[in-house]
């Protein structure tokens, strides 16, 4: 009946430092509605035994030169990474953070921001290339969302920017976008003067060959 491996697993997975008392409560099974019979043999584990096992673990990690150690924090024990690795872990957080947007993602995002609500075809008409992958990235990053459906034939989905978009770019609101008024006025004039530029609405959506599988 070796409790060390169990304690190791418990300290490993715990969300906070565990005191010997809390560890003991796990062994005695306090609060379990239907106690697992496999765990019943440990009911009489004493706090001193638990403290002893923790001590052994401490020594194990030192002897094996692991990158983590058993630390005593706020009256409890916790497995934490050694301070030496701090700079690396800081970098990891950077890597963990979503990467910067690609130029084509930015371009598409700008089109959406200024012309929302806008369908995929309309984006493609402006950019001149397929936007499937880029659009999916933007949706996944939460910068763009589905806002509804257009009244055009086939009722294509329309997209718009999100709150996260504003936050990401430090904008107060959409009006905060550079020269949006000017762009809009330009657009309005165009629609009045010339017959609507055909490309935007027309292209009967080349059956967009979707890249298989999800993207990262």
């Amino acid at each position: 009946m070796n409790i060390k491996p169990i304690i190791e697993a418990l300290l490993f997975a715990a969300r906070k430092p565990l005191s010997p008392k809390e560890l003991r409560a796990v062994f005695t099974g306090g609060g379990d509605e239907k106690p697992d019979p496999a765990l019943a043999g440990y009911k009489r584990v004493k706090e001193a035994e638990i403290a002893g096992a923790i001590e052994e673990l401490k020594v194990d990690y030192i002897n094996d030169d692991r990158s983590f150690m058993v630390a005593e924090v706020a009256g409890g024990f916790q497995i934490v990474s050694k301070p030496d690795f701090g700079p690396w872990l800081k970098r990891l957080l950077n890597v963990d953070r979503p990467q910067r947007l690609s130029p084509s993602a930015l371009e598409t995002l700008a089109i959406i921001a200024y012309r929302q609500p806008i369908t995929r075809n309309e984006m493609e008409a402006v950019r001149g290339v397929n936007v499937d992958g880029v659009l999916r990235t933007l949706l996944e990053r939460g910068l763009v969302k589905i806002t509804g459906r257009s009244g055009l034939p086939g009722k294509p989905i329309q997209y718009g920017t999100t709150q996260a978009f504003l936050e990401h770019f430090g904008l107060r609101d959409l009006e905060d976008l550079p020269a949006i008024e000017e762009l809009r006025r330009l657009e309005a004039k165009k629609q009045q003067a010339v017959p609507p530029p055909a490309p935007a609405a027309e292209p009967p959506a080349p059956p967009t060959p979707l890249p298989s599988g999800g993207n990262p």
């Binding site: 997975a13 969300r15 929302q116 939460g142 589905i146 509804g148 999100t162 996260a164």
Partner: protein, 246 residues
């Protein structure tokens, strides 16, 4: 449409194909050599049983019954007529019996994979990452929001409709049919991307009254299914739609 979507289904078998597989297994025959007559008979008996138990029989079960009857009737044709029929089948479409067998074989493969996935799921349940897999506390705890009543929702909906009426004067009115189940998906998708969304944002770009109604029905349905919750910080304030806690 909503009622159809949520029709209670027979739980014992996952569908007509599942029932057929079960019958084939029970009679211990090769899937490629199904004794159609026998299996059809048993299949129909099962449907009878389901009726007697007052179980709601999904339409798919009835369609399959019809297919089985069709196959059976063809097999009863005299030999020469059958050959004729087969020739016609080859030129037009696949013989229904082979179509069914192929579907069964394919379905069985996925069923086997499903069983495999079930085992993996059980195993994975025993494995924990650090911090119990929970999110590490970020410190940006949400403000507690009070749950709101259905009346608050309807009020908000009224507001939206009024605003839409104003919009419709300006815009063209599109005759569209928005399906509630599409809206369900859009809402769930939006929430899975964003976590929460303001009530009005859901309707902000609605093109027509029909779309607003569809969206609203989808919202009610999701609330009923306890998949989402509507919350409000202050009375008559902005309503927020969030995913229900798992």
């Amino acid at each position: 449409m909503v009622e159809n979507d949520y029709k209670v289904r027979l739980e014992i078998f996952e569908g007509p194909l599942d029932l057929l597989l079960y019958l084939i297994k029970k009679t211990e025959v090769d899937i490629y050599d199904i004794p159609i007559e026998k299996v059809t008979k048993q299949y129909l008996e099962y449907l009878q049983l389901m009726r007697m138990l007052n179980l709601d029989i999904a339409g798919e079960f009835l369609v399959m019954a019809a297919t089985l009857m069709l196959i059976k009737s063809r097999m009863l044709l005299p030999a020469e007529e059958r050959a004729e029929q087969q020739a016609r089948d080859e030129t037009e479409e696949e013989e229904p019996r082979w179509a069914l067998i192929r579907q069964l074989v394919e379905y069985k493969k996925f069923k086997d994979v499903a069983a495999h996935l079930g085992k993996r799921e059980l195993m994975q349940e025993q494995v924990f990452p650090r911090h119990g897999g929970g999110e590490i506390e970020t410190g940006s705890a949400e403000l507690p929001l009070g749950d709101i009543s259905i009346f608050d929702l309807i009020n908000a909906f009224n507001e939206t409709l009024k605003r839409a009426a104003r919009r419709e004067n300006l815009r063209e009115i599109f005759e569209e049919t928005f399906s509630v189940s599409d809206k369900l998906e859009e809402i769930l998708w939006t929430l899975s991307e964003k976590g929460a969304v303001r009530f009005h944002d859901l309707f902000a770009h609605a093109a027509s009254r029909g779309e607003i109604v569809a969206t609203f029905l989808a919202l009610l349905e999701l609330i009923r299914l306890k998949q989402i919750r509507a919350r409000q910080r202050v009375h008559f304030g902005e309503i927020e739609i969030v995913k229900a806690a798992a």
